[in-house]
Structure formats: structure tokens, C-alpha cells
């Protein structure tokens, strides 16, 4: 077994142990058919959610950590909404570099009880590997829906 594969097994075990349970993380692949992509007239949009296994570990990056540039506050008539930025460590077994760099892949966090979801774009990533093998990725994900 390569060093990267060995490390990845250990990382997966840690992720399984420490992943937050208050939300469930999915990889969403968006595909469109019909309609008109050029103008945005809707055809058929299909969202395919795949449970990330192992579940990633993630934490919300505070505005002071990102210099106040990535969190936006918008007011509706009844509440203030804050755009969220998360740092997420995901195993290379759960998401590949192709997924992360794909234009049509999003990260979705769902409340396991209510199934309410928040959708995130992958704003940036840092690969973590050894000896040429991928072990995990550090993703910076920013909410696309507040």
C-alpha cells in the first residue's frame, strides 16, 4: 500500500470520528437539458446529490479571518442573512480533483431532520497529498444561497 493510500485510510477514520452530525454533506452535480443555456430560459435541471463518504470535517470561517470580504449581510423585511464561508476538509475518496474543479459541482449541507439545505460553491481549494498521491482536500466553500 502506498504511503498516500495508508495516510488516506487514517484520515478517513478521523473524519468519520469527528465529522459534525448537525448537517449532512453532499456533492451535487447539476445537469441541464433542453431550454437555452445562452439566455437562461429553463429546460430540465437535474440535481444529483451524492452523500460524501466519509463525511467531511468543516468549520465556519469567521469574517475576521477572511478580512470581511467574503461574508455579506443582506436584510429582508424580517431578518438579516449572512453569506457563509466554510473551510472543509474532504477525503480524496469522497471527492476527486475532477469533482472539485468541475463547473457543475456544488456542495450541499442538509439538516438531517428537516432536510432544509444550503448550497455552496467551491471558491478555492488546497490539495493535501504525499508522494504524488492525493490524501485530502481543503475546500473553501461559499454559500450560494443565503
Amino acid at each position: 500500500m502506498s504511503l498516500a493510500a495508508s495516510l488516506k485510510q487514517r484520515v478517513n477514520a478521523v473524519l468519520n470520528q469527528y465529522a459534525p452530525t448537525y448537517m449532512t454533506a453532499y456533492k451535487r452535480v447539476v445537469t441541464r437539458s433542453g431550454g437555452d443555456d445562452l439566455t437562461g430560459h429553463t429546460g430540465t435541471v437535474t440535481n444529483t446529490d451524492t452523500l460524501l463518504n466519509p463525511q467531511p470535517v468543516y468549520g465556519r470561517a469567521l469574517r475576521r479571518q477572511v478580512g470581511g470580504t467574503d461574508a455579506e449581510i443582506m436584510a429582508t423585511s424580517t431578518e438579516s442573512k449572512v453569506g457563509q464561508l466554510y473551510e472543509m476538509i474532504v477525503s480524496a475518496d469522497a471527492m476527486s480533483i475532477t469533482d472539485i474543479e468541475s463547473q457543475n459541482v456544488l456542495v450541499v449541507l442538509k439538516d438531517p431532520t428537516t432536510q432544509e439545505e444550503e448550497v455552496y460553491r467551491i471558491a478555492d481549494y488546497e490539495p493535501m497529498g504525499v508522494s504524488g498521491g492525493a490524501v485530502a482536500y481543503l475546500l473553501y466553500i461559499r454559500s450560494a444561497t443565503r
Binding site: 437555452d36 445562452l38 439566455t39 463547473q103 457543475n104 448550497v119
Partner: protein, 140 residues
């Protein structure tokens, strides 16, 4: 105003014939990549909207991005040739994209087109941009 956007996008896309492709930069969660500029494409981003009971205006940015500088220059020439041929086009309703229908008015635009080179030595592409005002009737 939606018809103005759709008409202008298709005017560019249909007449440039896919070389280069036209990409509308917009926020659209069902197309995650729509908000990003594309290289080797003519990127069209609609900015300010000024409705009016007489003639409304829509400000649009055209960004020609290419990995090769000379390709960018060639495509700028193609876009200019197209926009300077008539300076107007009939406005169509693209609710059914496969069969657009005329709405009875035209959209027209400035005759003064100036493309600025956006220089960034770290970028992996060459970038020419111009802004353009589209004039159109708002009630159709």
C-alpha cells in the same frame, strides 16, 4: 428587458457562428459556471438597467477573453464587424427558444465601440473589454 437581453445574446451567438462561442455571465444556481468568465469566448454581462416609458437603456459589457493575444484581436474584429453592420436588430421573444417571435420593435446600440485591453501579467489569458448601451422599448 428580458427580451432585450435574449435578443442581443442570440444576435451575437447566431451571427458569430460559434467562433468564438458567446457566454452570458450571470448568476444562475442551475448553471454553476454561469457566473464565471470563460476564456476563448465572447463574454456578455448585462449591468445597468434604465427603464423608461419612452426608450429604455441597458448597459452591457462585452469581454473577449482568449489564451492567445492574437486570437483575442481577431475575435474583437469579428464582434466589431457584426455590431457595426447595422447597429440594430429586431427584438424577439425567446420564451420558446426554438421558435423566437418578433415583438414589433428593435433594439439598437452605440456606434462608438472602444475595446480596452485589461492587462494582468499573472493572467493566463488576454482580455479585451468594451461597454455598450442598448436602447430599446421597455414595454415589449
Amino acid at each position: 428587458m428580458r427580451q432585450t437581453r435574449d435578443t442581443f445574446l442570440h444576435f451575437l451567438s447566431d451571427n458569430l457562428g460559434g467562433t468564438p462561442p458567446v457566454h452570458n455571465v450571470r448568476m444562475d444556481l442551475s448553471v454553476p459556471s454561469a457566473s464565471e468568465y470563460q476564456t476563448n469566448a465572447v463574454n456578455v454581462k448585462f449591468i445597468d438597467v434604465c427603464p423608461s416609458p419612452q426608450i429604455g437603456q441597458t448597459l452591457v459589457e462585452i469581454a473577449v477573453l482568449a489564451e492567445q493575444e492574437l486570437d483575442a484581436l481577431t475575435w474583437v474584429k469579428s464582434v466589431f464587424n457584426l455590431l457595426s453592420t447595422n447597429y440594430q436588430t429586431p427584438k424577439l421573444d425567446y420564451t420558446n427558444p426554438s421558435s423566437p417571435t418578433p415583438v414589433g420593435s428593435n433594439i439598437y446600440w452605440d456606434t462608438n465601440l472602444k475595446f480596452r485591453a485589461i492587462s494582468d501579467h499573472d493572467a493566463l489569458y488576454y482580455d479585451y473589454r468594451c461597454t455598450l448601451t442598448l436602447f430599446h422599448r421597455v414595454n415589449s
